[in-house]
């Protein structure tokens, strides 16, 4: 495959193939940044892939007190799923179990949308009749008495049908240490892009998958073409110098956010250089027939 070279890092002339998804966002605040973050981390735990978790979710950005509705530190959490029903179910369960329960938390809409998902409007029943409905400045809140005071939760949050899931970068390196260093640099850079999340652990996937497998019922199985220990045994996508591959998977509020995130990731990896990090960047696709969104790496060069 043809490739370009930036700072010693080869960038293959290929594209990432991504899919349309439903997404929502909420803002979680807490008495301090630590507890706001803790509620968000709990809520987005076990939300790496829609294949097994029902949704993909992560913290989009941490917010200063000046940016949040109640003037306390907070986090914007984004959540992606394949259907509106599943997104509603996941949102309700996760906010109910992880945000309502976290000390001092409050929860607000994080996205404007024509369609609304129930947030406090579903959780209010926890109040057992003592919940209080409040409308202020065109927004609707529920206040639910809890043991440390009150859980305040906006009634609804917006849904977007224009979200994109599955933007990705594959970072190929001579050692797992170099691959991890490159991936970490990409995660830091992409973390600053608003409206894009990386749902996998710490933003990084080591077990990239292909569709299907030899065993009946497997939706996905190991991406053998990118597994270094199978190089030579099967038709491998890896060259002789590659001993580790890590993937960054990106979900975005819209297509622009995914493109901006991939661009930021490529820049971080090429800035690091091939000596310290990845020697090659490529991307995963299914031949272009399955996903509506294609991100060509050559268009995203730094």
């Amino acid at each position: 495959m043809q490739s370009m070279n930036v700072n010693g890092v080869a960038i293959e002339d290929t594209f990432a193939e991504a899919f349309g998804m439903r997404a929502t966002a909420i803002v979680i605040t807490g008495p301090d940044a630590k507890w706001a973050r803790q509620a968000a981390i709990s809520m987005t735990g076990f939300a790496t892939s829609v294949i097994g978790c029902g949704c993909e979710a992560a913290i989009d950005v941490e917010m200063d007190p000046a940016e949040t509705p109640d003037g306390r530190p907070g986090c914007r959490v984004m959540m992606f799923a394949v259907s509106t029903e599943e997104l509603q179910k996941q949102l309700q369960n996760r906010v109910g179990q992880c945000v309502l329960t976290a000390p001092g938390s409050a929860c607000f809409a994080g996205l404007d949308g024509e369609t609304q998902l129930k947030l406090g409007a579903a959780i209010r029943y926890f109040g057992d009749g003592w919940q209080i409905s409040k409308k202020l400045g065109g927004r609707h809140y529920w206040r639910i008495p809890v043991m440390d005071g009150e859980f305040l939760c906006e009634a609804t949050t917006g849904l977007t049908k224009g979200a994109v899931g599955g933007g990705n970068l594959l970072l190929l390196a001579g050692s797992s240490e170099k691959a991890l260093r490159a991936a970490e640099a990409a995660v830091v850079a992409i973390g600053k892009v608003r409206g894009a999340i990386m749902p996998f652990p710490g933003g990084i996937v080591r077990s990239g998958s292909k569709i299907g497998g030899k065993y009946k019922g497997m939706i996905a199985s190991t991406n053998d073409a990118f597994a270094p220990i199978l190089r030579g045994v099967i038709a491998s996508a890896l060259d002789a110098d590659t001993n580790a591959v890590l993937e960054i998977v990106i979900d975005g509020e819209n297509s622009d956010a995914v493109a901006a995130a991939m661009k930021a990731g490529i820049k971080a990896v090429t800035d690091l250089g091939s000596e310290m990090g990845a020697s090659r960047i490529t991307a995963g696709n299914y031949g272009g027939k399955l996903g509506k969104f294609h991100y060509h790496l050559k268009d995203l060069l730094p």
């Binding site: 003037g71 306390r72 209080i132 202020l136 400045g137 005071g149 305040l152």
Partner: protein, 274 residues
Amino acid sequence: MSALTFTLRAQPPERLDLSPLVPRSLAGMAKRDMEKIRLGISKHALTVGDLFSVAGNDADQLVFEGGSDRFDCVGSGLDEGSIRVVGNVGAQAGRKMTGGALTIEGDAGPHAGSAMRGGRLEIGGDAGDRLGGPLTGEMAGMAGGVLVVRGRAGDCAGDRMRRGLIAVLKGSGDYAGCRMIAGTLAIAGEVGKLPGYLMRRGSILLDRSPRRLSPSFVKSGSPDLVFAALVDRHLIADGISRKPLLGGVVGRYGGDNAVLGKGEIIFSVAERDR
């Protein structure tokens, strides 16, 4: 286009019903026809032409240059556009309004904002008794919208209020928020006796500890309320107040336990009492 302006020629000799003068009714109407609208409620049948000189052509913005305590029902039923009164008004200003903006630069009489359901009513001076309240025989008072009184409100402000926000900036008379069904009543300044009398649900927010509270209200501590911060920020962002009403530490009473008891009085705890 300039605002359609009604300039008062002289103090009216009798009480007037100004409810016909709202943007929706006047849209597209010729000035000649406007002047024939009857406003007087006695046998004298005073008309717009008898009382005002009319200028301007934008019926979406009405201005009354000069007001009077005899101006009843100003902006009653308002649903769109704006009305501004440079002066005082009488009873029932903005009654049953559902949208638009009504601004009264002077004082308003009793029942201002009575049973309003939407829009914004702003009173620069004082308001009379039963602010936002229902007329005799009606079941509910204010049911939506925003009502701001920059001066003082009379007795029974927010009577039977069901939804929406009332903010009073210089205190109120007795029985503020009496018989409230729900909604939010915020008052800065001294309130009279028995605020929240017979309230079922809803929130009364005060910038100081209430004196002379009904014994059927019970103390419910000094909880940490995100809602208090949200209200404070909203009042400032919406241009209603310049400083936080509740501040950092609040106290709370639950009541009125003589009725349903799901209402609350949240008040700012003064620095010296913390």
